[in-house]
Amino acid sequence: MAFKLDAKIPAGELAQKWSNHKAAIKVVSPANKRKLDIIVIGTGLGGGAAAASLGELGYNVKVFCIQDSPRRAHSIAAQGGINAAKNYQNDNDSVYRLFYDTIKGGDYRAREANVYRLAEVSNLIIDQCVAQGVPFAREYGGLLANRSFGGAQVSRTFYARGQTGQQLLLGAYAALNKEIAAGTVKSYPRHEMLDLVIENGEARGIIARNLVTGEIERYGAHAVVLASGGYGNVFFLSTNAMGSNGSAAFQCYRKGAGFANPCFTQIHPTCIPKHGTQQSKLTLMSESLRNDGRIWVPKKLEDVKALRAGTLKPSEIAEEDRDYYLERRYPAFGNLVPRDVASRAAKERCDAGFGVNETGLAVFLDFKTAIARLGKDIIKQRYGNLFDMYEEITDVSPYEEPMQIFPAVHYTMGGIWVDYNLMTTIPGLYAIGEANFSDHGANRLGASALMQGLADGYFVLPYTIGDYLSHKIQAPKVDTNTPAFEEAEKAVRAKIAKLMSIQGKQSVDDIHKRLGNIMWENVGMARSKESLTKAIAEIKALRAEFWKDVKVVGDPMSFNVELEKALRLADFLELGELMARDALNREESCGGHFRVEHQTEEGEADRDDEHFAYAAVWEYKGMDAEPEMTKEPLNFEFVHLAKRNYKD
């Protein structure tokens, strides 16, 4: 049965939709809020902000995270900044401009109403964070400073050195601590959600594993909020934290939540290149570096050869022999084109043989011009910690020689389908932040992930969830001794027992690396009908191999990292196939999704609005069954669908 998707977008003028909607939805009285329980999965910017705000409103909140403290969620690693339409720089920024840049940056594959709301609440986020004591960068006059990020011609990015995500998360974590102290929020660190429990078609709770003791536990609530982040680790090597995974979201998909646009993956252009087979993850170098860094490769192949042979230093290559290919191809935006465009341009040069390291998979990010213009001290102030990190990893000082960078998997725009209220296709189940699909279309602009997580958590969900819970005020506490909880727990125990019983020959990482390789080669920066068909077959075979040959050692009733990883990989092995299927279905190129069959003569993404201006929402039908796809048409009432142009 296909989904009946209702995005519940309010009628009326774009700028009035959210105000009208807030006025129309119901609220819950303080006395009734005390009787209602909410579960939040994840403590990053979305989950942390939501749990804190919901607790403050008076709901009983239980918040779960897999790390040892809520403060360690992967939002913490975001470096560069957070966008807001404050127009503090007087450069003619506005809510509309932020909205427009985000819709265009996403290559017209996001909902207008959601994106406008995001831009609208962006300013409140900055106010909120400053009041919490987030030490944003300031100018000498004491007012807030800004910098520029890709896909924008204004300076609207607020930042705290290269640690913006950390500082924003510490703000949300502090708000959460305030509520934990007040007793409205109970925190469950080192707990992992392993299943969603549904009764009478509504989300009623979760099954979780205590990662310290191995106990399988039941938790009931009147609503469940999924804030578990993205699934980029399906590629094994990515900029995500090692523990980041798609399992909580995948359990919801398995239980009937629609999964939208799973193929929309962001490949970030400025990561430290891969160095060898022993590598566990890729390190991001913040997009903010593109404010002052210039990206280039040599013009002459003989220089490339000399670089690889180590007989020539990059700093010895003359200006006229350098190809600043982003400035050449995209004069209006130059080095600050959106991430998908910058990544593809790097790949194009490397494919043409101009890659600058031994593997041929690297380009230069050079600060020579900026150091000459501003002096070393200012560059150090702006990027000192990033330069130090780079030198620590590579043993090369970016003050002396250019950085080497290459694209890497970073963020997933796809995710659980939600309506305007952030509710999934399962009543009572919400998805926020990177876990949902709603705001970034086919490509996310830099400094917008933090904005979305906090917008959803602080300013959207706490209102919209009240509309649903207003119908639950007479509902009793959720009883976890019911057949639905019983069955869900049994299924989780059976899955764990199965994994422990296989005792094959390959470790979880052995198989995960192979999956990552299939994904990167076939479902990565360039996708084709041929590569995607191949990937689907290979992933199926690998999945079968996993269930026959994986080796999970240790005791499941104890702290067991291998079991945690095996459970997550089991889901990645299905999610990878879903991503390939979605990419195969989308016979167009848009944003981060590039089908080689669909490109212009200049090699730019060739979008097909006539046939693909929709969100593809997938419904689970079983591990080896084909999922069913339902379309949510994207109606553009206020912006004109245009080819993205970053040239002039």
Binding site: D68, A77, Y88, A131, G133, G142, Q166, Y458, F459
Partner: protein, 247 residues
């Protein structure tokens, strides 16, 4: 490169632990310390043995999850870096490396190299926040804050809560951790309002949880992966004393 590893193994919080010796070979000098442990663990799994449990997550030095004493030093060799940012080129080929969990009574071992740092969360829950409600705040530029103050607040706010300070301190004191939070908020006008209450509550919680006293050895600052200065401890003391005088 080849290494001999002496690693603390402990089944769980209740069991007695001890050192086990392992060998790893063919390690690239560009491999990170934790990747080296990944390689050891993969070898152990193939041999049907339990891998070594250790905490880690972002592997970019910011989440604060990784936490090893390497050759007796918190976060190992190198200044201003977490364990995940240590690369094998820092070690001599053929070296024997000793790896232990955090050494602090306030951080009990959960398994092998993994410890429970919940005490740090509890200290922050006692008062490490500004009591503002969501959506009940003035415009972000309403209060100008001198750049130097904002910068100093940021210096202190760089703390990642990893626990190296308390694990390194011979008194098991958490003063640098507490000071970083108190000082960061004390430097900002919006944090001043609850300054006295915050300093007293956090110090009281720290004492209650069994952390030791500060005797100004400076070891915490030396081992802090974010190089947080003990000058913040001086500010904490000032905040605490003036709060006490107000009583």
């Amino acid at each position: 490169m080849n290494f001999t590893l002496k690693i603390w193994r402990q089944k769980d919080a209740k069991s007695k632990g001890g050192f086990e010796t392992y060998k790893v070979s063919d390690i690239s000098e560009d491999t990170s310390f934790l990747e080296m442990l990944d390689i050891l663990n993969n070898d152990l799994i193939h041999a049907g043995k339990e891998p070594v449990a250790f905490d880690h997550d972002c592997r970019e030095g910011i989440c604060g999850m990784c936490s090893l004493h390497i050759d007796g030093k918190a976060h190992g060799p190198g200044q201003g870096a977490t364990t995940c940012q240590i690369y094998m080129r820092k070690f001599k080929d053929g070296a024997t490396i000793t790896i232990e969990p955090w050494r602090s009574a306030a951080f009990p071992v959960i398994k092998d190299l993994v410890v429970n740092r919940g005490a740090y969360d509890q200290i922050l829950q006692a008062g490490g926040f500004i009591s503002v409600r969501t959506n009940s705040v003035p415009d972000a530029n309403a209060i100008p804050i001198p750049k130097a103050d904002a910068d100093e607040a940021m210096d202190a706010a760089a703390c990642i809560g990893c626990g190296a300070c308390a694990a390194t301190c011979k008194n098991g004191s958490a003063m640098l951790f507490v000071a970083a939070r108190v000082s960061s908020l004390a430097k900002l006008p919006q944090g001043r309002v609850e300054g006295a209450r915050r300093a007293k509550a956090m110090v009281a919680k720290m004492d209650e949880l069994g952390f030791g006293n500060c005797t100004n050895t400076g070891a915490c600052q030396a081992e802090c992966p974010k190089s947080i200065s003990i000058a913040h401890i001086a500010r904490l003391n000032r905040e605490f004393l003036s709060a006490k005088f107000e009583d």
